[in-house]
């Protein structure tokens, strides 16, 4: 067998293996979506069917009209958008300052940011909860936001980018031309940070959208649940109706997956950047 043929055969085998693995990885999700289309009776059949024999849209209809799912999605969305805006804004400004204004005070602040970056949110969320309670912000998006206003990694990411891709001379030239500092930040620095800011936005949105531990203690009233919390508690309220549960989960899942497939590049950039921070 020639070298080319041999390579081709290996590649084919590898492709088949990868294909099978990928399908296996996606199977649980495909089954979930399929379950959403089954009637409640079919869900109780043994052995379980893979695909619905009699697909119905009834579950999805119920999920959107009879359960608070839509409201939960709205809550999550509002929370995620606001968090993203806050994180992007604070990270951009703070990252810029830390990167281009190396005064001693600023450096000390940076070290503080860095030191607390590795501390997981779960460690200090209880005192933060009491703060939020004291402010009367429980069960509101504002209360949720309190935990997700800044992202240490975001500040770090912007700082790295600012140092790597914004030359000091550019800022000096603008200053000599008489530009004010804020003007420089808005018209010179921000446009250059478009890429990393987009990646950060995607990351921040994803972080808020999938948050669990914090929303579950801050939101106790069913109406204010985020999707994650709502779904998790769904099982106790609607235990018997598995197909409804699956439909609800599928409804939550599909937008995220779609968003990912569309925004893949930004997403991957953000995650890869977090891997290179060391």
């Amino acid at each position: 067998m020639s070298a080319t043929d041999r390579a081709r055969r290996t590649n084919f085998l590898l492709d088949v293996t990868l294909f099978v693995i990928c399908i296996l990885l996606l199977t649980p999700l495909i089954l979930l979506i399929a379950n959403g289309f089954k009637t409640p009776q079919e869900m109780l059949v043994w052995p379980p069917t893979l695909f619905p024999k009699d697909p119905t849209l009834e579950n999805f209809h119920k999920v959107f009209t009879e359960t608070p799912l839509l409201r939960w999605m709205l809550n999550s969305f509002l929370f995620a958008i606001l968090s993203t805006v806050a994180i992007v804004a604070t990270s951009a400004l703070a990252g810029y300052i830390i990167g281009k204004f190396p005064f001693r005070t600023i450096n000390i602040i940076f070290i503080l940011f860095l030191a607390t970056a590795i501390i997981p949110f779960e460690v200090y969320m209880i005192p933060l909860y009491f703060q939020v309670k004291a402010l009367g912000l429980l069960n509101s998006v504002g209360g949720l936001l309190v935990g997700y206003l800044v992202m240490s990694f975001g500040i770090f990411l912007i700082r790295q980018n600012v140092i790597a891709s914004i030359p000091d001379e550019l800022l000096e030239a603008a200053r000599i031309d008489g530009a004010g500092e804020l003007w420089i930040f808005w018209y010179v620095v921000l446009p250059l940070l478009r890429g990393p800011l987009a990646a950060l936005a995607v990351l921040a949105f994803f972080q808020a959208w999938t948050a669990f531990a914090w929303p579950i203690i801050v939101m106790t009233r069913k109406k204010s649940f985020t999707i994650e919390v709502g779904l998790a508690n769904f099982q106790s309220a609607y235990t018997v109706d598995l197909s409804l549960l699956s439909a609800a989960s599928a409804a939550v899942m599909v937008p995220s997956v779609l968003a990912f497939v569309l925004l893949r590049r930004n997403f991957v950039e953000g995650i890869a950047a977090s891997g290179m921070k060391e």
Partner: protein
């Protein structure tokens, strides 16, 4: 003159972020540390200082030790599964970079990571369901016995490890792919000429050269493993349906102590222990990384 102006701008500009940071990060962290040495039952104004008593009590507390053990097993188990699998998968995907399916592979592998925790857990909950799930159906079809996946103490932990690994795999593959792309190509050509086949190249070249990445992914997955909560909450409801009680994890125990047992100081002590574990793991990572670079 210009420098002073810049200094004040810098301070003013960073003040809002720093203020927020101080309020939502620094203060709570310090509070946690402080509370861990006090006793507080949420209702009274009294928060007596108790020194290290909370910690001493924790280590005698069966529920806590249970949670600690479970969490550690999940964290290390998930890491042990994720690292080799993502490295091998990344190696194969990298080898097929030029295939027209490479985009599909990367996307497919990463989707489990992107799907938020709860829907993913729901998907698996059904699969693992002892009476209705396809897993037992397949096992019985092959002639075996159905197993109570989610209700057996050992099996349910395995299920959680499985779920966590499934979710983390994509992340690991992504990071390893970046690593593979940065490996020097000529080194592999030299190995090829020296007689290495694909598998030997992977074992003797890729694996050692990727050590920094393996280290990083290990620590990240370990740390997020110790913080596991949502997956246990959903998958491991006990026989009465109370969520997460079947497999107690640290975060669950901590929240229970704080909001159900009304022992905030005690819960804070748990948080401090969690923090110490995370710090320890991070320091080990730094130490190992420096050890390699220093020589």
């Amino acid at each position: 003159m210009l420098r002073r102006k810049q200094f004040w701008f810098a301070i003013m500009a960073i003040l809002p972020t720093f203020a927020i940071f101080g309020w939502v990060r620094l203060f709570p962290i310090i509070e946690t540390l402080r509370l861990s040495m006090h006793e507080w039952n949420l209702l009274s104004k009294n928060k007596p200082f108790v020194g290290f008593q909370n910690f001493i009590e924790l280590f005698g507390d069966n529920q806590f030790m249970d949670a600690l053990t479970n969490t550690a097993v999940i964290a290390f188990g998930a890491m042990a599964v994720t690292i080799p699998m993502s490295m091998v998968l990344a190696a194969i995907i990298y080898h097929r970079t030029r295939s027209r399916f490479s985009g599909f592979y990367e996307t497919a592998v990463f989707i489990p990571h992107v799907v938020s925790l709860v829907p993913a857990a729901m998907a698996w909950k059904w699969i693992f369901d002892a009476k209705l799930g396809p897993l037992n159906a397949i096992i019985m079809g092959l002639g075996g016995d159905a197993l109570p996946w989610l209700f057996d103490p050992v099996l349910s932990v395995i299920c959680i490890i499985f779920l966590v690994s499934w979710q983390t795999l994509g992340y690991g593959v992504l990071i390893y792919l970046v690593g593979f792309r940065n490996l020097p190509k000529s080194v592999f050509e030299a190995a090829q000429l020296d007689g290495a086949n694909g598998f030997q190249s992977f074992l003797y070249m890729s694996v050692p050269l990727l050590k920094p990445i393996t280290l990083y992914v290990s620590v990240v997955t370990l740390i997020s493993g110790f913080n596991v909560y949502a997956q246990a909450y959903v998958l491991a409801s006990d026989t009465q349906g109370a969520p997460g009680r079947q497999v107690r994890v640290l975060v669950l125990d901590m929240l229970e102590n704080s909001f159900q047992n009304f022992r905030v100081g005690y819960a804070a002590a748990e948080a401090v222990i969690l923090l110490s574990i995370v710090l320890l793991l991070t320091m080990i990572q730094f130490g190992l990384l420096r050890g390699k670079g220093g020589r």
